[in-house]
C-alpha cells in the first residue's frame, strides 16, 4: 500500500509546550498527484509540512515518504524531497546558476552531470536566459521560480511547497503554477502544497485536505468537497463550513478543540504574518 503513497502520515501529533499544533492527523498523499493542504492561519498545516520535511520531529505517530520513515532515516528521506519555503529564500548575492549549483552540490549531484542537470532545472523554470544574472536583480516571481529550480535539481519524488505564490501578482502566480504543472507532467513527481488561495486549490490540486485546529476537517477532490455542500457551492464555502466561517480571520472561536489551541495557534499565526511581511518587504 505504502509503495503507492508519496506521503503516509499516521496519527502525527506535535505540540509546542502545552499546546497542540497538529493533533493526531492521518494523511495519505497518492504518488503523482498535486495535493493541497488548506486551512486558516494557525491551522497546523505549516507544522505538518515541517514534520514531513524533517524540520520538526514527529514525537507521536509515523511519517513515511515513499515508504521511508523520515523520522528515523532523515537523510534518506531528505533525498526524496524538494522543499520551497514560504519566504523568498534565494541568495541575492549569487547568480541564478550559482544558487542552483549550490543545491546541486548539497544534494551530492555527481560533478560529471551537475552542469547538465543545473541547466535543465533552470530551463524547466524558464530562467536559462537570465541564469548568470545576480538573483538580487530578479523579480519576486523569478525568485520563486529560481527556488523551484533549486528544489528540482535533486530530481525529488516529492515536491513540498509552502505558500508558493504568496505575495506574487496574478501573472507571477500563474507563471509559478505553470512551471509546477509542467515539471509534474514531465517527471511524474508528487506535489504537496499549502495555499490560502482557494482559486488555486480549486484549479490546480487533485485532492485537498482542509485543516483546522490541528486536525483534518475535510478531505477529497475539489469537486467532491463542493458537491458535498450543494450544486453551486464554491471552495470558499467549503472552507467556511469546515472552519466555522473563519476564512483568513480569527481562528479558535468555534469551540471545536478550543482547549487544545491558543498559544500555539496564535504563535503560528504570528509566524505566518511575520513571514508574509518579510516576503512582502523582499518583493518591494
Amino acid at each position: 500500500m505504502s509503495a503507492l503513497l508519496a506521503v503516509r502520515g499516521t496519527g502525527i501529533r506535535h505540540r509546542f509546550g502545552n499546546t497542540v499544533a497538529v493533533d493526531g492527523v492521518d494523511l495519505e498523499v497518492a504518488a503523482g498527484t498535486v495535493f493541497g493542504l488548506l486551512g486558516p492561519n494557525g491551522a497546523g498545516k505549516t507544522t505538518a509540512i515541517r514534520m514531513i520535511t524533517t524540520l520538526l520531529p514527529a514525537p507521536a505517530g509515523t511519517i513515511e515518504v515513499f515508504g521511508v520513515d523520515v523520522a528515523r532515516y532523515k537523510l534518506a528521506g531528505r533525498r526524496l524531497i524538494g522543499y520551497v519555503p514560504q519566504q523568498l529564500s534565494a541568495d541575492a548575492l549569487l547568480t541564478g546558476r550559482e544558487n542552483v549549483t549550490l543545491f546541486a552540490r548539497l544534494f551530492d549531484v555527481p560533478r560529471a552531470r551537475r552542469r547538465r542537470i543545473v541547466d535543465a532545472a533552470l530551463e524547466s523554470v524558464g530562467l536559462a536566459d537570465v541564469a548568470d544574472r545576480i538573483a538580487g536583480t530578479y523579480s519576486g516571481g523569478m525568485i520563486r521560480r529560481l527556488e523551484l529550480a533549486q528544489a528540482l535539481v535533486n530530481a525529488p519524488r516529492l515536491l513540498v511547497l509552502d505558500e508558493p505564490t504568496i505575495g506574487l501578482d496574478p501573472i507571477g502566480r500563474a507563471s509559478v503554477w505553470d512551471r509546477i504543472l509542467d515539471v509534474r507532467a514531465s517527471t511524474g513527481m508528487t506535489v504537496l502544497v499549502t495555499t490560502h488561495y482557494m482559486d488555486e486549490a480549486d484549479q490546480y490540486c487533485d485532492r485537498i485536505a482542509l485543516m483546522h485546529h490541528g486536525r483534518i476537517r475535510a478531505l477529497g477532490t475539489p469537486a467532491e468537497l463542493k458537491a458535498g455542500l450543494g450544486p453551486h457551492a464554491t471552495l470558499d464555502d467549503v472552507f467556511r463550513a469546515a472552519t466555522g466561517d473563519e476564512l483568513g480571520g480569527r481562528a479558535g472561536e468555534s469551540g471545536v478543540g478550543k482547549s487544545r489551541v491558543g498559544e500555539s495557534e496564535v504563535g503560528e499565526r504570528m509566524r505566518d504574518v511575520r513571514a508574509t511581511r518579510r516576503t512582502a518587504r523582499r518583493l518591494g
Binding site: L55, L88, S89, L106, D108, A120, S124, R282
Partner: protein
Amino acid sequence: MSEQLAVPHADWAKSTLISLPRLVLSRISTLSLAELQKIRHDRTELFTRAIQPALWLLIFGETFTRLRVIPTGNIPYLAYLAPGILAQSALFIAIFYGIQIIWERDAGVLAKLLVTPTPRVALVTGKAVAVAVRALVQALVILILAALLGVGLTTDPLNLLAMVVVVILGSTFFCCLSITIAGLVLTRDRLMGIGQAITMPLFFGSSALYPVKIMPGWLKVFNRVNPLGYEVDALRGLLIGVPAQLGLDFGVLILAAAVMISIASALLARLAH
C-alpha cells in the same frame, strides 16, 4: 530538458551511505565556494572591513611604536601588533555571524538547507569554515597592509599555511560561539548586544595589544581560558617568529573548535524550530 530532471537519481541516492567526514568535507567546500562567489560579486565589505584594522595599525601601531611604552623586546611594536589585529579582524567577522544565521532562519534559507541531506554538524562546520574563508581574505588584506608599513613578515610557505589553519580554527570557534548564542537568544537585536558586549573583553583579554607578562593577575587568568589569546600567540609565532607555544596553541584551538561545533550543532535545532 525536463527529462534530465525526471531521471531517478539512483546512483547518488545511494550516497546516504557517504561517511560523515566525507560529507563534512563536501559541505565545507560547497559552502566555502558560495562564500567566495559572494565576495567576488560584492567586494564592498572587503574594503569597509579593512578600514578598522588599517586605523589600528596606522594610528595605534605607529603611535605606540614611537612611544615605546609597551615592552615587546627587540620587536617593533607595529610588528608585534599586526598578528593581534589580524586575529581581531577575524574575530569581528566570526562573532557576528549569528546575525546572519538568524536572518537566514527568517528568510527560509536555513530551513531549505536543513532539508538537504546534510547532518547538522556538517552544516555548522561548513558554515563556520565558509566564514573563516571570508576572514582569510580579510587577513590577506591586513598582511599586505602590514607589509606596506614595513612589518617583516614570514615568507615561509609552511608558516603561512599554518597561519591559514590557525585563522580557520579561531574563526570556526568564534563563528560557532555566535551560532550558539543565536540558538539561545533567537533574535538579531539580542545577539548584536551580546556580540558587542563580549568582543572587546575577548580582545583586551588576549595578548593582541600587549604581552601577557604585563597583564594584571586576573587578566592573565582570563587570557588562559580565552581562545583568542592562543590564536594571537600562534599567529605571532608563525608570522614574525617570536617564541610561541605552538603545540599548546594548536591543541587548544582544535579542542575549542570541536567542542563549540558540537554545541552549535545541537542548538541549531532551536533556530530551525
